[in-house]
Amino acid sequence: MVEQATKMKRLINAIWIFNWFNSCGFTELFPLVGSRWDMERFGMIITGTPRHADVLFIAGYQTMKSIRRAQVIYEQMPDPKAVIALGACTMSGGMYWDSYNTVKRLTDYIPVNIYIPGCPPRPEAVFEACMKIFHHVGAVPPHGRKFAKAHSG
């Protein structure tokens, strides 16, 4: 098991991110890309395809239509993988709690590793979450988390 953990830690030396953003969710991560917070100094890079991604960032409210695409993207990502949910709307529907067409509990649809509260979350909070991803890697089971285990964890 220890060997397994070291092996996977080697896999994630830098966090490659795939963004799945709806509406204003994009602006939540936007300052991180710029020079003031500059996420690339921590090895965080945004990839263009889920096949190269270690981490899936979900932000903004998820609609019933978009969450299906998020599930497909999650399935396409190679193990080990992690999902980070940014902001109030992603986690619980936020101000859209009474909308007929938004996702109310994200864990019902996709296994989430870390929630970052806030509307929008501070960039520092996003960095802290990504630091926790490094610690989390050791705890990821060999074949990744599956949908069925989403609630038990």
């Binding site: 609609t63 019933m64 239509k65 299906r68 709690w97 009474d98 909308s99 007929y100 067409n101 109310k104 509990r105």
Partner: protein, 170 residues
């Protein structure tokens, strides 16, 4: 005012020579025309010949007290530079109207598909009215005024027994 808005008045005159309409010059470059739904397609064909070849939008307004849906077609003429608004009212209980897809083709198709989904309006002659945004939707058309979305959401997504979701029922 009529002297200044010559081309706007001329459009109304040209249409009212052939159709029984209620026309109004709203302001410069804005013309409103109201017609009954039976003559809608004939009017659409006619104004397309006049140069209103761009259907920029269709919108639907719900008037529950009146028992009607109001359909609004926004048309732009590149030659005259006039935005013509055609309005027609249809029965709310039996919302069937002829499709304008034969007139403006794909331009109209996506709008009609959307309003079939959101208001439940049947567009006769439009072959693809599949759901656009709402996948696996089981409720009534959500943009109707009598659709209680908050109550629908409570029943579908929340549990009153759950202590942490009590706030959604206050």
């Amino acid at each position: 005012m009529a002297e200044i808005l010559l081309k706007e008045v001329k459009v109304i005159e040209e249409i009212s020579a052939k159709f029984k309409i209620d026309g109004k010059v709203q302001r410069e470059r804005r013309v409103w025309v109201t017609i009954d739904k039976d003559n809608l397609i004939a009017l659409c064909n006619f104004v397309k010949e006049l140069g209103f070849e761009h259907l920029s939008a269709i919108s639907v307004t719900d008037w529950p007290q009146e028992g009607r849906f109001e359909l609004t077609y926004h048309l732009w003429s590149y030659s005259e530079k006039i935005l013509l608004t055609i309005k027609t009212k249809i029965d709310r209980a039996n919302p069937i109207v002829d499709s304008v897809v034969p007139v403006w083709q794909e331009n109209a198709q996506i709008h009609e598909r959307e309003f079939h989904e959101l208001f439940g309006v049947e567009f006769e002659g439009n072959e693809d009215l599949a759901p656009l945004f709402l996948e696996d939707w089981d409720g009534p058309p959500p943009f109707r005024k009598d659709f209680d979305w908050r109550e629908y959401t409570r029943q579908k997504y929340y549990n009153k027994e759950n202590e942490r979701e009590q706030a959604y029922y206050d």
